[in-house]
């Protein structure tokens, strides 16, 4: 259950039997396809979720960077993000395990909405824990969860955000573990969650790798994905991890043969700065892989943003979905092994990339996703001739944030929004 030194099962004893039960179910249903679990999962992902998602050639970006840029379109998945791959898998697994109730935590609301959809689809009662601060600032996602029939339980402790919601959901689970499954939203938490969530998300890279070979005759030079907790990241990397031959050297860059080595870039949220304010316990970024160090949080040993005492810091990012002080243990391990390169871009670059992709390609990305494109803009010379970028989600949910954050910055690339003043529409 470990990735090198990372991972493990650091949870209250009361949860351990459930974790063991889940580990057993993961082994049988997911890994061994008992009762045709994986077949049903794949079928529902296709019919309900809309898989496979396309691998699209990006005309304008490819011309801009003189690099073949391919977009893996997870934004087209039902619900608007990769999140459904995991939520559907876990809710279906809970059904196979005979559980009668689903709980989940959510920060920005993307995992909560995906879980609510999956639970409605599979006729399972569902409760979502969400910090009251997040409820107030992510109203549309709360609507969606409620409209899908889920309860939304406000978490009022602390800052009222994701960290607190995770802790609160663990508390619920510790009370109800016998009939309830906790759908963790990323490749975090105690084993078997990191492996299981990765396996459910790995369909992204399974498709992308096949599609790349079909479209280009070979493997890409690089794959980019944004990284918060890391579920879209590992999903996008999983089937490329073994493509780990000799690193590409500049002299070889113009041959047409399929490459042995695919470089993997995990793009974290650099926020406003990589500096931390230890006094206040605040990291103005979420660049855990780049700047964090080892510790234990939410059930696993992994890299964390923490102070020297081991207290967890408040992380920050313009993108709520990347705003988390931990990261999946498998990613932490792959970074230590030099298989994954951790990089980051700041809020400004992410916002610019948001506008660029929207205007140039007609795809409004999630702010999370925009980070990957921010890195591409800054480092396109270093990613080889062919690159796949995972469009992990769509940006409808981020419109108000983007307008607000853009107006603070006066970015050249941003469109003028004064139309609302002209027609007398309400304020932002």
């Amino acid at each position: 259950p470990k990735f090198g030194e990372y991972g493990g099962q650091y949870v209250p004893e009361a949860l351990m039997p459930a974790i063991e039960e889940l580990t057993d179910a993961y082994q049988r249903y997911v890994l061994e396809n008992e009762d045709g679990f994986m077949d049903e999962f794949r079928e529902r992902l296709a019919d309900f979720g809309g898989r496979p998602t396309p691998l699209q050639y990006a005309d304008q970006l490819s011309a801009r960077y003189d690099t073949d840029v391919y977009l893996k379109r997870e934004d087209l998945l039902h619900g608007g993000a990769h999140k459904l791959n995991n939520a559907l898998g876990q809710v279906l697994l809970a059904k196979y395990m005979g559980k009668e109730r689903i709980i989940a935590e959510t920060g920005a609301g993307q995992h909560g909405t995906a879980t609510a959809m999956a639970a409605a689809h599979l006729d399972m009662p569902c409760e979502i824990y969400m910090g009251e601060t997040d409820i107030a600032r992510q109203r549309p996602n709360v609507f969606r969860m409620r409209i899908n029939g889920s309860e939304v339980n406000p978490v009022t402790v602390g800052r009222g955000t994701l960290k607190e919601a995770i802790s609160e959901t663990m508390r619920d689970w510790a009370t109800t573990v016998e009939n309830t499954h906790y759908v963790i939203g990323s490749i975090v938490g105690p084993h078997p969650f990191p492996k299981m969530v990765r396996d459910f998300q790995a369909v992204i890279s399974e498709e992308a790798r096949e599609q790349a070979i079909e479209k280009t005759g070979g493997l890409p030079d690089s794959v980019l994905a944004c990284a918060g907790g890391g579920s879209n990241t590992m999903g996008t990397f999983a089937h490329f991890v073994d493509d780990d031959g000799e690193p590409r050297s500049p002299e070889q860059s113009s041959d047409d043969e399929p490459r042995d080595r695919v470089d993997l870039y995990a793009v974290e949220a650099g926020g406003s700065s990589l500096q931390v304010d230890e006094e206040e316990g605040v990291a103005p970024n979420s660049a855990t892989l780049s700047t964090g160090d080892e510790g234990v949080l939410h059930g696993a040993r992994t890299k964390l943003l923490q102070d020297s005492d081991g207290q967890i810091m408040e992380s920050h990012s313009v993108s709520a979905g990347l705003d988390y002080a931990g990261v999946g243990p498998e990613l932490a391990h792959l970074v230590d092994e030099d298989r994954v390169t951790p990089v980051n871009v700041d809020d400004d670059a992410a916002l610019e990339a948001f506008h660029r992709l929207s205007q140039d390609e007609g795809i409004i990305p999630a702010l999370e996703t925009a980070h990957a494109f921010g890195y591409l803009e800054e480092h396109h010379d270093e990613v080889g001739d062919t690159v796949i970028v995972n469009v992990s989600g769509r940006g409808d949910k981020d419109l108000e944030t983007v307008i607000e954050e853009t107006s603070k910055r006066d970015l050249d690339i941003a469109p003028d929004m004064s139309i609302f003043e002209r027609v007398g529409g309400g304020g932002l």
């Binding site: 493990g8 099962q9 650091y10 949870v11 209250p12 004893e13 009361a14 351990m16 039997p17 459930a18 063991e20 402790v157 602390g158 960290k163 995770i166 802790s167 663990m170 508390r171 510790a174 009370t175 109800t176 573990v177 016998e178 990589l274 500096q275 931390v276 304010d277 230890e278 006094e279 316990g281 780049s290 700047t291 964090g292 160090d293 080892e294 510790g295 234990v296 949080l297 939410h298 059930g299 964390l304 923490q306 102070d307 020297s308 005492d309 081991g310 207290q311 967890i312």
Partner: protein, 293 residues
């Protein structure tokens, strides 16, 4: 390795408070009041920012303590400053134990990229320091037996007990594995869920005690004990001790919110402690047959 002695002669009363709640000075008074009230062992919480196993009451205590400046080093000072004559157990989460002594805290606070250049020394520095200030045992709610080997080893080295929590769901092989590692006492979780005072005493308590009856280690029951009558019933059901946290933290919280003088709050804590200890003693008297020598 000596916590068992606290359970030897009579049922033990084991109160919990978060150290430094709501302030360093007040908290010293409160802990000492518990000792006066009859505590046999005191569990002192070292607050962690993500207390996933606690209910609302203790979460809020942890927030108050952190806001008042509690840190691991301050915690050890706190223990040294305490004037009590009962064994002390530190209850905290594993990350604080794991991180303690990682490099120098001065050089870490300079806002540089903190990616660890030095490998962790693991739990040893924390246990060494705890032993030095006189702590006799540890309870780590997010550290199941499976992950406990390094801490167990450090505790053995410095002579500390490592207390494990047995949940209502802990059965069979898991239970055996845990009891092989436990020392001092087992913390018997009376019901599923998180810490917090409840009105009822769960049937699960009796079942748990029954599962543990073959094991020769003191069984202290916690989660939900609020009154002397509760304590009485738990002990009469076979417990060797009662652990009480939220009911005491409630008194601290109420005093803090109302701005009551520290000594008044301390008196209330002492009285509550006495009520609970007395209940436990009554429970022992009611037991049909004392099973321990």
């Amino acid at each position: 390795m000596g916590l068992e002695r606290a359970f030897a002669d009579e049922p033990a009363f084991v109160p919990y408070l978060a150290a430094g709640d709501p302030s360093y000075e007040a908290s010293l008074e409160y802990v000492e009041a518990l000792a006066r009230g009859g505590a046999d062992v005191i569990e002192l919480g070292l607050p962690f920012s993500e207390p996933i196993a606690e209910g609302k009451t203790i979460q809020n205590a942890i927030v108050r303590s952190l806001e008042a400046g509690m840190t691991p080093d301050r915690f050890f000072e706190f223990v040294e400053d305490l004037d009590v004559d009962v064994p002390l157990v530190c209850m905290t989460y594993y990350n604080l134990i794991y991180q303690y002594g990682e490099g120098d805290s001065e050089s870490r606070s300079d806002s540089e990229n903190a990616s660890g250049e030095t490998a962790s020394q693991g739990p040893r520095p924390f246990v060494e320091k705890a032993a030095a200030v006189g702590i006799e045992g540890l309870v780590v709610p997010d550290l199941p037996a499976e992950e406990a080997a390094p801490l167990r080893q450090a505790c053995d080295e410095f002579g500390l007990d490592l207390v494990f929590i047995v949940a209502p769901t802990t059965k069979g092989d898991r239970l055996e594995r845990m009891l092989e590692q436990v020392s001092g006492y087992v913390y018997v979780q009376a019901r599923l869920g998180v810490t917090g005072a409840r009105e009822d005493v769960d049937d699960a308590t009796e079942e748990s005690l029954a599962r543990l009856s073959d094991w020769d280690v003191p069984k202290a029951v916690g989660f939900g004990i609020k009154t002397g009558d509760h304590a009485e019933r738990i002990v009469s059901a076979g417990a060797d001790g009662v652990i009480v946290g939220s009911a005491l933290v409630d008194i601290v919280a109420e005093g803090h919110e109302n701005g009551d003088p520290v000594d008044e709050v301390a008196d209330r804590l002492e009285a509550k402690a006495r009520e609970l200890k007395d209940g436990a003693l009554r429970g022992a008297a009611e037991r049909p047959q004392p099973e321990r020598t």
